[in-house]
């Protein structure tokens, strides 16, 4: 070990000092580059919509990294689809909260008066009856519902891609999010335009070849198969297209972050 000790070799004192100065300079440069890089990354992330609305608080860094990286990687990717034989038997339905009187009135009336209204940054705000939604060419997908708790099931979902409806109401080009509400106004969510216009994001009114059961969100629910189940809000009645989520609820994007859950649920 002793030959490594610089004190013993007086003439050799120069190299270590040079080295430490070089080291100081490179460390300084690296730190400056790092800080500048972070600043550039933050402003780029903001500009390209890679910052989630619940980026505030101690978990903001992790959420931003997850949302930004998954948005960059998955902008156009399709959720896995399964074969008919993989549909879960028996069909599963999660527990649902007690349904409101308003819902029960619709249920008694066979959902004949159920409507979905769309407003906000659209050229033609509209209110669709179930019949009008069903008059769009129907599509189906066999995808997985994955709950944040850990369970999952596969079902066939029948409906119309949300993008078709958004096309007809003409979404403003600067719009960035779609906020959607269940008949219970405390149960609301939002997604970015990448998910809203995604071909597998459905307004679903049917399941496994039949009507959409009440336990699975009938008569109308949103299906966002690239995110966990809680983004697929049941009993959907209203949508607002917006470029900013600050004015909705506590400004965290949806009801989920208000009760401690992440806004983006791609993982």
């Amino acid at each position: 070990m002793s030959e490594l000790s610089p004190d013993k070799h007086v003439p050799d004192k120069q190299p270590p000092r040079k080295l430490s100065r070089r080291r100081l300079i490179t460390t300084g440069l690296a730190a400056t580059a790092g800080v500048a890089g972070l600043g550039v990354a933050a402003s780029l992330a903001q500009r390209y919509g890679l910052v989630p609305p619940d980026h505030v608080g101690i978990y903001g860094l992790g959420e931003t990294l997850t949302y930004a990286s998954q948005r960059l990687l998955t902008k156009h990717s399709l959720a896995r689809e399964f074969s008919r034989s993989q549909i879960s038997k028996p069909p599963f339905a999660n527990e649902i909260p007690p349904l409101s009187e308003a819902y029960e009135r619709h249920q008694v009336g066979g959902f004949a008066d159920w409507r979905l209204s769309i407003d906000g940054m659209v050229a033609r705000p509209a209110s669709f009856s179930l019949c009008q939604i069903k008059s769009y060419p129907s599509q189906s997908q066999i995808t997985m519902v994955q709950c944040e708790e850990g369970w999952s099931y596969i079902a066939e979902w029948i409906g119309v891609p949300l993008s078709k409806i958004l096309q007809d109401v003409e979404v403003h080009p600067r719009a960035r999010y779609v906020v959607y509400y269940s008949i219970d106004p405390d149960w609301w969510e939002s997604i970015d335009m990448a998910d809203a216009l995604h071909p597998q994001t459905f307004l679903a009114y049917g399941m496994n070849g039949g009507e959409l059961p009440v336990g699975n969100g009938g008569p109308l629910r949103l299906r966002v198969p690239r995110q966990l189940g809680y983004k697929s809000v049941k009993y959907i009645t209203h949508m607002t297209v917006t470029d900013n989520l600050k004015g909705f609820g506590k400004g965290l994007g949806s009801a989920s972050p208000e009760s401690g859950y992440a806004w983006y649920a791609g993982i």
Partner: protein, 253 residues
């Protein structure tokens, strides 16, 4: 007179025994960041399991499908048939936030460590076992001395033995990559871009079950690691990993 001659000798002796570092600063910093993250991942992961302590094999699994196995604990959700008459408080929200935040930090720390290990020679010098260490006889000697709980020799305070090297390599280059992979394979968005990551594991519920078992393997490593540190001398090993200085023979006495 005699004392005054001895003093400078004693003083100059101090730096030569303490200047040598056992663990480099980068190894120490990444070690403790990883430790903190792992504990956060463990606590939050356990909380997430509590919301549905049932495990399945294949693509899907829920309360209506047969389990591969279940953990006999109460759940934090009503719907799960646990056999307990009560439901634990739901802690899934912050657990999931903390889990993914810690996962990001551990991934970046791991990348930094791996680059350092490759570039600095740490991998070659300190982790890869030497050719002679890998003979069956050498391995057997090391295994039996561990099984007899022999206190490690003085030289081992300065270098990892062959079993240490193999288990560290296994944790760093097998278990950690596996736990990250099986974690990503549960993400519906990630697998939409990279479906093979979940398909080769046999499905999303298989990925969840494997994630659980790899985590158990990491916990097992942590327990053995801590026991070994206690046997080898808790304070001297802790000091080596915190300050970088290893205990010398004289200091131990």
């Amino acid at each position: 007179m005699g004392d005054s001659i001895c003093v400078p000798n004693a003083v100059s002796a101090v730096p030569t025994t303490t200047v040598a570092t056992r663990h480099s600063a980068l190894v120490r910093v990444t070690h403790w960041i990883t430790t903190l993250c792992f504990l956060a991942l463990l606590v939050s992961g356990a909380e997430i399991v509590i919301s549905h302590p049932r495990f399945y094999w294949g693509e899907t699994g829920n309360d209506l499908t047969p389990v591969l196995f279940k953990i006999p604990i109460p759940a934090s959700r009503n719907l799960v048939p646990t056999g307990y008459g009560y439901v634990l408080p739901d802690q899934n929200g912050w657990s999931r936030y903390l889990h993914f935040q810690s996962a990001w930090v551990v991934v970046f720390t791991g990348l930094l460590y791996t680059i350092f290990a490759l570039v600095s020679g740490h991998l070659r010098r300190n982790l890869l076992p030497g050719g002679t260490d890998l003979s069956w006889r050498a391995l057997w000697t090391s295994i039996t001395s561990h099984l007899h709980f022999k206190r490690p020799s003085e030289a081992e305070a300065w270098s990892y033995n062959v079993l240490q090297r193999l288990s560290y390599l296994f944790v760093i280059f097998v278990l950690f990559p596996l736990v990250i992979w099986t974690g990503l394979a549960m993400s519906p968005a990630f697998v939409s871009a990279f479906p093979a990551t979940v398909n080769v594991l046999g499905g999303q519920q298989s990925a969840r079950t494997l994630h659980f078992f790899v985590s158990l393997a990491l916990v097992l490593f942590l327990l053995v690691h801590v026991v070994m540190i206690v046997l080898a001398g808790f304070w001297s090993r802790m000091r080596a990993m915190i300050t970088g200085r290893a205990a010398t023979l004289t200091e131990r006495i």
